[in-house]
Subunit: 518 residues, 2 copies
């Protein structure tokens, strides 16, 4: 993509038009006010639906044809089947068979299994992906080989874009571990249980057509109804929607790396000493090895002090479930389940509650869950001296990750980034991030194995840990130390062409990704 | 109201404009196709909401002022507090104090306690009520004393009108027995428990501003979230939202009238002999004394045969709860709770599920629950020889009842009207209904204490009960018998002026109510 660009409020050059649609440059955190009204889907009528409630059709192809899929349309899917997803690829196999072109795939995330779609990006079936670009897909985009421009959004930004009509979903194809003939669906039960369907809500509410694909048709009413059948057009029953062992882990694993364990321990100590960890604190971590170790350390402290975290927000794991079951967490509100123990918990425990990202992360709603979280543990591929963060590209310039809920989570009260000082001998703290995903003013603390940097804006935290014996450093000191060990990293080299844009939580454009220089 | 009228597909004279807005005449069952898109509310932003999630303000007046209530605006409320509602009247006390005029009250139903609002209808604070008009309010309207024209909609028609933007709610004021500071709310808990909040969903999703009023502020997260806090603007905590003994009955009572009991018994026998009652049948009755008796008889038959009703749709009562708990009903899907036993059940039993009328009854959605019901027990004030039904006026022409879910429920597989042959010596079966609320083609069976009339369209049922010994009659025979006893009733006498219109489930106008002749 080429075209007119401007410098946005973060000092980044961004386009004024993306894929033929006007774009608004980032104006600063909390500065862009939306105008207009939420998107309205076509008004349906019961005239067009079977009175016995049975919407099952013979095949996914039949459902897609009945939905009237045409070239240029936008198809959405969710990522709850993660790397075991057998549905998304099939949709485009069918579209390619029909001979359609220039489709937009709008997933809530993509995984290595979706590498198969590269052939459809190459033959023109798919114009572009608007969503996370992991591994092979990211490399494809970075090399300038995708026809359209990728649009990267956070989970919350994705639902904001759907709600506001910035992305109009023609057909949502939603895999469901359990569903009834009317289209009510949930994330539990059956051979492909993924726990919850927290990423599907905006899709089914705002898509013109909705197809449910299940390998476990249950009696009406399928309950709880994470997807409400009265928004659903067709139900497809297939043999297999996913590969179970790639959907959820048999068991999520704590890091065994001594450095990462040190980071985790430092993080727990910091949270305790700084007063951030307290009785009632709302906690969100994640499913990475370091995050899990942090969860275990925090659990120990809570237990020891007789405290209870009011609630945690999932992605849930067995470590959160343990807190819930042992009485150190009041509720798990959950948009995504990572392991089998968490699947069991959401089925059994009325305090383990499905909670959509549409409710938790949408910045264009009347309040977010994220800003109510006391402790937010996040990662980053790079952080710069001013605490600005990058999660989508590596220092070599390649697009290799999605944003996930990262930008949304930056709105928490205390945003902590436990990150190694370097990865594969490449320093993580840099002069300037390759791609800006989150402004430094929202990132409070960086915790590395060789020291902790507190954002100067957080004078309260700096004060709280005085005399604590914790290794407090500046970002400059941490960067210097990393460079002493690894040397100064080479800057990525780019062509002019813009291959992807990164949106902020309010729909504005915060940065771009350029094509890698051949 | 005067103005241009036409004869609609049911042969009724209806206006082409109502309260200054164009109206579509009824075209026949399943004949009107909606055009256009669902209503979109203003896009909000987290910028305008407290990051700690606390939306509690000092008073209802403060909340209303902050919402920017102006003359001419539309205020919606739900009726879950029934005749114990202390919130709706207060809203208009505040509006009158501010000096506002020409407001529209858009309740999901009204009750005798709302008679107090007549003073605001008289002084111009309220222009009109769009919703059910019971007792004194109905009399007020029938006498031509309301400034605007009343618009009567079914519960499903109401949510259709909201969704389609036919009625734009400026402010929804939603009473909640339990709520947290963020605005998540439910129908259980606290001194004013009403069980579920199944009538509030379209209101909170489609109103521009939403106020929650509670007398039971609970810890975040209030769960289950029947109202989702991310749609809520303000939370108000008051001493008392309702008068408990008028919200739910201590205990709902089966009829003691021998005639009504006979009707109930005949109904149960008919359902059994006709084959309508079967293993798995989905059942909806109601909370009237005759309906409760029918529920008990049906329960006995199910138990005896070892059958289970797949699900029942509430309004729920202790008699449905008993079916659920004793294993003769799989699920209660519930939009409304009528007695204390049902409140207990919805709190305790995961198979007693809150289910909104937005999901169950909205004809402009992708399928309704009602058309999946096998047995639908309904009432009527009048039925004519062709099975057309009236539920809003009496034979004297006075508007005395709301439509409730009646029109929506007519879409069930088997619609049974167990009604007395006469009430207060006025026959219920008439030559022509005073007000047409539901076309006869949707009403299958009328069961009176002196015989059963089956709609000639239902040849299958006529066949099924041949030789059953049941007293099968024609509507003409039943009418003749009633008139032999009571004499031919006087026709109501009306002025020209239209005081109310009756909408069909698809938003078209099926009939009108004229001013009573002085």
């Amino acid at each position: 993509m080429k075209g007119k660009t401007v410098i946005n409020a973060a000092g980044r050059e961004v386009p004024l038009e993306i894929n033929g649609q006007p774009a608004i440059p980032f104006k600063g955190v909390g500065k862009h006010r939306p105008a207009g009204r939420k998107h309205g889907t076509l008004v349906p009528t019961c005239i067009d639906f079977p009175s016995d409630g049975n919407k099952v059709v013979g095949s996914l192809e039949e459902a897609i044809r009945r939905c009237g899929l045409k070239s240029g349309m936008t198809i959405s899917t969710h990522h709850h089947l993660r790397d075991g997803d057998l549905v998304s690829n099939t949709v485009f196999d069918i579209a390619a068979d029909i001979g359609l072109k220039d489709l937009v795939w709008f997933p809530s995330a993509s995984f290595p299994c979706h590498e198969l779609l590269i052939k459809y990006l190459e033959d023109g079936t798919i114009n572009r992906i608007e969503g996370s670009m992991n591994g092979p897909l990211g490399r494809f985009v970075s090399e300038g080989r995708m026809k359209g421009t990728a649009v990267l959004r956070s989970h919350g930004g994705r639902v904001q874009a759907i709600q506001d009509g910035e992305v109009k979903i023609d057909i949502a194809v939603l895999a469901a571990p359990s569903a009834d003939f009317f289209g009510n669906a949930r994330g539990t039960g059956g051979p492909s249980a993924c726990g919850v369907l927290g990423y599907a809500k905006a899709d089914y509410m705002y898509a013109d057509k909705v197809i449910i694909v299940t390998d476990n048709l249950v009696e009406f009413p399928c309950y709880p109804m994470e997807i409400e059948g009265n928004y659903v057009d067709y139900v497809v029953v297939t043999d297999k929607i996913g590969i179970p062992e790639r959907i959820v882990s048999g068991t999520t694993q704590i890091t065994k790396s001594p450095d990462r364990l040190l980071i985790a321990e430092l993080t727990a100590r910091f949270l305790e000493k700084s007063g951030i960890l307290m009785d009632g604190a709302a906690i969100q971590a994640g499913a990475g090895g370091t995050s899990l170790a942090i969860a275990v350390f925090l659990h120990d402290i809570l237990r020891e002090k007789g405290w209870e975290s009011k609630f945690g927000f999932g992605g849930s794991t067995k470590y959160m479930v343990k807190m819930l079951e042992e009485g150190q967490m009041g509720y798990i509100l959950d948009a995504q389940v990572f392991d089998l123990e968490a699947v069991r918990s959401v089925e059994e425990n009325t305090h383990h509650v499905p909670y959509s990202v549409y409710n938790a992360y949408n910045y264009h709603s009347k309040g977010n869950l994220t800003s109510m979280m006391d402790i937010m543990i996040l990662g980053a591929t790079e952080v710069d001296l001013n605490f600005n963060g990058n999660v989508v590209t590596h220092s070599d310039g390649y697009l290799l990750h999605g944003i996930g809920g990262w930008q949304n989570c930056l709105h928490a009260r205390n945003v902590i980034l436990p990150i190694p000082l370097f990865r594969d001998r490449i320093p993580v703290i840099v002069d300037e991030v390759t791609t800006l995903c989150g402004p430094g003013e929202l990132i409070d603390v960086i915790i590395t194995e060789r020291g902790i940097a507190i954002n100067p804006l957080r004078k309260d935290l700096i004060e709280n840990v005085k005399g604590s014996g914790l290794p407090i450093r500046t970002t400059q000191e941490l960067k210097d130390e990393a460079e002493k060990i690894c040397g100064k990293p080479q800057k990525a080299r780019f062509d002019e062409e813009i291959v992807a844009v990164v949106k902020w939580v309010d729909g504005t454009v915060i940065d771009i990704v350029r094509k890698i220089k051949a």
